[in-house]
């Protein structure tokens, strides 16, 4: 099919992607007087479009991918506002241990705590991150909190970026009352008030580079309903910021012929996640209330903790995600599903040590080579074990681990079966990741990093990466504040120079 050539547009700055990495940068640049154009592959929705339909909204607002082996699912928001529209609104400041590691292992000496903190605090204020009151926790969070308290573990209610939350339990399907301060209701309207334009349904296919400098992008305009290409457009700009997320940014660089001597695509890292389900005698109604709000930090290895490197966070009990995380099939699976109102759930957020790679296939589509290494699998086993212990301590009637073939756990001695079970990603019911990092990491050494410390792609003038692709490692905590902060840091430096045109 020959696509119609559309108009040729231009801007001072193009921002590719409108989520946590793109929206703050767009706002910062627009407020500094840049003529900014934001290109978003997904559609634009507003609060009234966000329906109480888990399957419909999950498909409509995001994109599901998988690692090359097929063993692990990946999910990211693909709509105006990106993953900030579908995340759980959780806010953590960037751990100092992570910044220290970036300085030590990635030659990012300028990323001192003092240098990065102002951007973290700026993001914190911008998105209205605030402590979650205990009175806002639902019974699902209470169950995890009770278990942690009885076991003497450290834990806390997590700050969330909300304003007037009605505790509907629908954070992952777009907030229907705009209580969540996603990029859709915060940074992007700010950018638009300063003259930025947001072009939804626009899939960037290639970054154009001439004589070592970026000159713009080529893109496809998509039909909002069918998602089929309608035509091509070409946009010229002397400054291009890539923020299409880890699922797309590294692949976009690769199919544009920007490989950085092999550094682009390298260093993919995840927070691997799997959920544990517990059945209680009394109703929990875990589908209402903040989708996630309480974290066991006992096993974390950041923010002053010295654990093995995972967090345990309560998570919503909606049917699709619950069914996916229950092992097996048939009558036994259905028995637990039929007790849905009595179920509590929590998820392991594992700080993987594994490194993978984003590649582009012959047609330029991303491929995510990522094989969870044995040490991570064993830490995941430990995390599942501890989560089961927490629920047993909270008087759960039974705990259902997400491992095919394992019977429900009714007391601690049953956990011997988990210890003995063969465990690899294909035996886990719904191993997934929604926190993705790297693939275009910044660093102080050209040979091993895709971007300079200021986010600029090495050797391509005017081309920057501002999303989680440029973070050199995972963060050990929910990363949206870190992504916002890093985007603000990069964009602020550019804004201080003024429009280059």
């Amino acid at each position: 099919m020959t696509l119609r050539e559309g108009p040729r547009l231009r801007a001072d700055a193009l921002v590719v992607g409108s989520g946590a990495g793109g929206a703050p940068a767009a706002a910062r640049l627009a407020e500094a007087g840049f003529e900014v154009l934001v290109l978003e592959a997904g559609p634009r929705f507003s609060a009234s479009d966000f329906l109480s339909d888990e399957a419909l909204m999950t498909a409509r607002l995001g994109r599901t991918g998988a690692t090359a082996s097929g063993a692990q699912s990946l999910y990211a928001g693909v709509c105006v506002g990106g993953s900030t529209v579908v995340n759980d609104a959780l806010c953590w400041r960037t751990p100092p241990e992570v910044l220290e590691r970036w300085r030590r292992e990635h030659a990012l000496s300028e990323l001192t705590d003092a240098a990065f903190a102002p951007f973290v605090e700026q993001a914190w204020a911008d998105v209205h991150a605030e402590p979650t009151l205990r009175s806002h926790l639902n019974r699902n969070a209470h169950r995890l909190e009770l278990g942690a308290r009885r076991l003497g573990w450290a834990g806390e209610a997590m700050p969330r970026n909300v304003r007037g939350c009605a505790r509907l339990g629908r954070c992952n399907w777009g907030c229907p009352i705009d209580a969540k301060q996603s990029a859709l209701v915060g940074y992007l309207p700010r950018a638009e008030r300063s003259g930025a334009r947001v072009l939804a349904d626009t899939q960037v296919t290639r970054v154009r580079v001439e004589a070592g400098a970026v000159t713009g992008v080529e893109a496809l305009r998509l039909d909002p309903a069918s998602r089929e290409p309608l035509g091509k457009i070409r946009i010229d700009a002397p400054l291009v910021l890539l923020a299409a997320g880890v699922l797309e940014t590294p692949a976009l660089l690769l199919r544009s012929g920007i490989a950085g001597d092999g550094a682009v695509g390298r260093g993919l890292q995840l927070h691997s996640s799997a959920a544990v389900t517990a059945r209680f005698a009394e109703p929990v109604h875990g589908y209402f209330g903040p989708t996630m709000a309480y974290a066991v930090t006992q096993f974390s290895d950041v923010h002053g903790h010295a654990g093995p490197g995972f967090m345990l966070e309560n998570t919503a009990v909606h049917p699709l995600v619950t069914a996916a995380a229950l092992p097996g099939f048939g009558s036994e699976h259905a028995r637990v599903m039929e007790a849905l109102p009595h179920l509590a759930r929590a998820v392991v957020v594992l700080r993987d040590a594994t490194r993978g790679r984003v590649e582009a296939d012959a047609e330029g589509r991303a491929r995510y080579a990522y094989e969870l290494e044995p040490g991570d699998v064993e830490r995941l086993r430990q995390a599942l074990r501890e989560l089961a212990r927490a629920y047993l301590a909270a008087d759960a009637r039974e705990v259902i681990l997400p491992v095919h073939g394992l019977a429900p756990i009714q007391n601690e001695s049953d956990l011997a079966a988990l210890d003995a079970a063969p465990l690899d990603p294909t035996r886990i019911a719904f191993l997934y990741a929604v926190h993705l990092f790297g693939g275009a990491a910044m660093g102080g050494e050209r040979a091993v990093s895709a971007c300079r410390p200021d986010g600029a792609v090495w050797d391509v003038r005017g081309l920057y990466v501002t999303d989680a692709s440029t973070l050199p490692s995972n963060t050990g905590v929910n990363p949206q504040i870190t992504i916002f902060a890093n985007a603000l840091r990069i964009a602020s430096a550019l804004a201080n120079r003024g429009p280059t045109s």
Partner: protein, 197 residues
């Protein structure tokens, strides 16, 4: 089919990833583990006449419906048999948003339907087996020592659960509160079930 061919097929199973699944199906067909023709399944499993199939064939639609009925369990199976729940139609809708998965799913369903020893421990099509025998095949896939067979199970299971629990009809048997047309009603329902602030 020679023993060498069978050994080659088995060795392939051990090392294949998801993307290589298409190659597996091709190999299986080449060495006689899969028939090349598809034909029709039982009429009770056929798609309704008013459902246009874009991604599934009538045969794979039937296999998916049969597998989904076993995966979702008795309450869901009852509704699938009564045509109050249509996993195939839901799968079609899902594949429209992820069309690149369609060929992999079709191949997986064909393996499930037509796979015979040593690929799968059955001699008849999946849709022709009784429920207990279908469960045995699904269990064999789930607990196989071959990662590719476990992936096949995981893929079909995921889509079956999505198709069944993504249908509002499932709310009645899992006691999941209905969605409301107005946000104010949703807020009222939420607060009815939440602990006192």
């Amino acid at each position: 089919m020679s023993d060498a061919h069978r050994r080659q097929a088995l060795a392939s199973l051990a090392a294949l990833d998801r993307r290589a699944f298409l190659r597996l199906a091709g190999l299986a067909a080449a060495v006689g583990l899969l028939p090349s023709g598809c034909g029709d399944a039982a009429p009770a499993l056929a798609p309704p006449p008013d459902l246009p199939l874009r991604f599934l064939t009538p045969r794979t639609y039937a296999v998916f419906g049969a597998a989904a009925a076993r995966i979702v369990g008795p309450a869901g199976a009852l509704r699938i048999r009564a045509r109050r729940l249509d996993p195939g139609a839901r799968a079609e809708a899902f594949l429209a948003s992820a069309p690149t998965l369609a060929s992999t799913l079709r191949q997986a369903l064909l393996v499930l339907e037509f796979g015979v020893p040593p690929l799968l421990a059955k001699l008849r099509p999946f849709t022709a087996l009784d429920g207990e025998s279908q469960d045995a095949i699904l269990h064999e896939l789930m607990s196989s020592r071959f990662a590719t067979k476990r992936l096949l199970f995981g893929g079909v299971r995921s889509l079956a659960l999505l198709a069944c629990y993504g249908d509002p009809a499932s709310r009645e048997w899992i006691d999941y509160p209905p969605g409301h047309p107005h946000t104010a009603a949703d807020i009222e329902a939420a607060h009815h079930y939440l602990p006192d602030a």
